[in-house]
C-alpha cells in the first residue's frame, strides 16, 4: 500500500491532484481512500489530503507515514517533512527552500511546477505538473492511465475546456522526472 500526502495553499489544487491519483488506482481495480483536511481550510490558507492505494483493505484512511509528500509551499513542507516514511520521496515546487532540512533518509525532488505551468500558458496547472511527476516517481501507473483519470475528473467538474493545456503540463511534469 502507498500513502501520499498532497499539501499546499487552498486553491492550488492539491485536493484535486489527490483525487486524480486515487481515481487512477480505483479504475485499475485497486482499493483507494482519499481523506481531506476539512473544516476551517479556506482559499489562501493551507489545505491537504491523504491518499492511500493498493491491493486489499486499507485499514486507516488517515495520515500515518507518507511514502510521498507533495509540498507546494513552505508551510506544507515544514509541517509534514517529519512525517515522511524512511526512504520516502519529498516532491517540492521551486518556491520551497529545503536547505534547513535535517533528514537524510528521504529523497527530495524539486520540480519547478510553477515555471513549467507558466511557460505553457497554464499558470493554474502547477498541481497537474506535479500529478504527472508523482505518477512517474511512484511507477505504479502509466502516463495514459493518469491522463484518462484527469479527463474523467475535469469532465465531471465541467472544466474540460482546459483539457489540452492540462495534458500538456501533465506530460511536462511526467517527463521532467
Amino acid at each position: 500500500m502507498k500513502e501520499i500526502v498532497f499539501a499546499g495553499f487552498g486553491g492550488q489544487g492539491v485536493l484535486t491532484s489527490g483525487l486524480i491519483i486515487s481515481d487512477i488506482a480505483v479504475e485499475n481495480g485497486e482499493n483507494a481512500t482519499w481523506m481531506p483536511s476539512y473544516g476551517s481550510a479556506m482559499r489562501g490558507g493551507t489545505a491537504n489530503c491523504t491518499v492511500k492505494y493498493g491491493e486489499g483493505i486499507i485499514y486507516n484512511p488517515s495520515q500515518e507515514e507518507p511514502n510521498l509528500l507533495l509540498a507546494m509551499n513552505q508551510p506544507s513542507f515544514d509541517m509534514f517533512i517529519g512525517k515522511v516514511a524512511k526512504d520516502g520521496i519529498v516532491l517540492v515546487s521551486e518556491v520551497v527552500d529545503t536547505t534547513a532540512c535535517t533528514r537524510d533518509d528521504v529523497k527530495i525532488v524539486v520540480v519547478p511546477c510553477h515555471k513549467i505551468a507558466d511557460e505553457a500558458n497554464h499558470s493554474r496547472g502547477a498541481n497537474i505538473v506535479m500529478t504527472g511527476a508523482i505518477i512517474k516517481l511512484l511507477g505504479d501507473h502509466t502516463m495514459e492511465q493518469g491522463k484518462a483519470a484527469m479527463e474523467r475528473m475535469f469532465n465531471k467538474k465541467g472544466k474540460n475546456k482546459f483539457s489540452e493545456l492540462n495534458e500538456t503540463v501533465f506530460e511536462a511534469g511526467y517527463n521532467y522526472i
Binding site: V26, P36, S40, P61
Partner: protein, 353 residues
C-alpha cells in the same frame, strides 16, 4: 456496476433516496452538511420534499410530521445539532414512529470542534433525550458499509417502530473511497401513517396506561437486544488480549490486531456494528483465559469501555481487566495502537475496570 470514488456524505444521501427516503428536514453543520446539500436538489427529482428548517428543533419536528404520515424520513447533523434534536427524538420514540437520524460525530463539548471523533457514544446508546427509551445505533466502518446499512436502518426502525441512529465519525462523511450504490427499492407507505380518514382511535394523554405501556416497551427492547446484535470478530477464541473498537477507529484497530498477530501476539478483535444493542453475544466466544479486553476509542475519557466492562463481567468468570485507549480525536494510527498495546501487555497501563 463498477465501484466509483464517492464522498461519504454524498454516497449516504444517494443511498437514502434509493432506499425510499422521501422527506428530509434539518439544519446544516460541519461535517454532515453535504448530506442535506445533496438532498436539497435530489429529493425534488424523485418527488420527495426537502426543507432547510430554521433550526434543528424545527427540523426534527418536521420529521415527526413526515413519519406520522408513514413516509421514510431523515434528518442528519453532528454532535451539537443532535443535542438540539433530542426532544423530537424522544417524541418519535414515545409515539412509536420510525425515522433515521444520522450523526456525523465531531469532537468536543459544547459547540466543540470540527475534528472527527467518537464522543457521542454514551449519548446515542442511552437514548439521548428525556425519558426512558433506546434507539437502535448502527456504526459503519466504511462508506460501503454505511451505504449498505442505511436500508437496514429503516427496516429495523419500521420493524420495531423505533428511531435508528446512524452514528459515524465525521471523517467517514468527508472522505472518499470506492462505493457501489444499492438499487432503487419500492417502499410502501407505513401502515400506521395518517390516511386522512381518522382510521385510528385518538388516545389523549390522560387515556394512556403507562404501566401497560412499560410492559410492552420492555418486551420490545428485550426483543431488539435478543435479535439485533451485530458485530464482526476475529481471532478471539485463543486470544490473550481482545480489542473492541467500532467505526473507522475499529477499522484501524483491525489493522493493528492483524499486524500484532503476524508479529506473534495472540490478539483478537471485536467490531460492534450495533452499538445498541451492544453485541454482548460476541463475548461468549472469547478465550476464557484471556488476560485483558482493550477498547480503542476516539474520545477523551473512554465511553465504549463502560459497555465493554459490563459485557466482560457478564461473559467472564475471573474478573478479567478491561483497558481503555482513548485517542481523543481523528483516527488512531496503527503504529500508536500497537505501541500502546505493548505497554498494556507489559503491565504499564492501569485497567479501567
Amino acid at each position: 456496476m463498477a465501484k466509483k470514488m464517492m464522498k461519504g456524505n454524498v454516497a449516504i444521501a444517494e443511498a437514502a433516496v434509493r432506499y425510499g427516503v422521501r422527506f428530509y428536514a434539518g439544519y446544516p453543520i460541519t461535517p454532515s452538511s453535504e448530506i442535506m446539500e445533496y438532498l436539497s436538489w435530489r429529493l425534488d427529482e424523485v418527488g420527495g420534499a426537502f426543507v432547510q428548517a430554521e433550526s434543528e428543533l424545527s427540523g426534527v419536528n418536521m420529521v415527526i410530521g413526515a413519519a406520522s404520515c408513514g413516509v421514510r424520513a431523515l434528518t442528519a447533523s453532528s454532535g451539537p445539532g443532535i443535542s438540539l434534536k433530542q426532544e423530537g427524538v424522544s417524541t418519535l420514540c414515545d409515539e412509536e414512529l420510525s425515522a433515521v437520524v444520522i450523526n456525523m460525530v465531531r469532537y468536543g463539548n459544547g459547540l466543540g470542534t470540527l475534528y472527527s471523533s467518537q464522543t457521542d457514544y454514551l449519548r446515542e446508546t442511552r437514548g439521548g433525550g428525556q425519558g426512558d427509551y433506546r434507539c437502535i445505533v448502527l456504526c459503519p466502518y466504511s462508506i460501503q458499509e454505511a451505504v449498505d446499512m442505511l436500508g437496514l436502518a429503516y427496516d429495523l426502525a419500521e420493524k420495531y417502530r423505533v428511531v435508528t441512529v446512524f452514528m459515524a465519525e465525521g471523517a467517514l462523511g468527508q472522505m472518499m473511497e470506492p462505493v457501489e450504490l444499492p438499487d432503487f427499492i419500492e417502499t410502501k407507505k407505513n401502515y400506521w401513517g395518517f390516511d386522512g380518514k381518522y382510521s385510528y382511535k385518538k388516545i389523549g394523554i390522560f387515556d394512556r396506561d403507562s404501566m401497560k405501556e412499560a410492559v410492552a416497551l420492555r418486551e420490545k427492547y428485550a426483543a431488539i437486544c435478543e435479535n439485533e446484535q451485530r458485530w464482526e470478530d476475529e481471532g478471539i477464541e485463543d486470544a490473550d488480549y481482545v480489542f473492541v473498537s467500532y467505526g473507522l477507529t475499529g477499522r484501524s484497530t483491525l489493522g493493528a490486531a492483524r499486524e500484532l498477530r503476524e508479529e506473534g501476539y495472540k490478539v483478537g478483535h471485536i467490531r460492534p456494528i450495533t452499538a445498541w444493542p451492544f453485541p454482548h453475544k460476541a463475548f461468549a466466544k472469547i478465550n476464557p483465559n484471556v488476560k485483558g479486553i482493550i477498547t480503542v476509542e476516539a474520545n477523551a475519557t473512554g465511553q465504549l469501555i463502560e459497555d465493554v466492562a459490563l459485557a466482560t463481567k457478564k461473559a467472564m468468570e475471573n474478573n478479567v481487566p478491561t483497558y481503555a485507549l482513548p485517542y481523543v480525536y481523528g483516527i488512531p494510527a496503527i503504529k500508536d495502537i500497537k505501541e500502546d498495546f505493548v505497554k498494556i501487555a507489559n503491565g504499564q497501563v492501569r485497567e479501567a475496570y
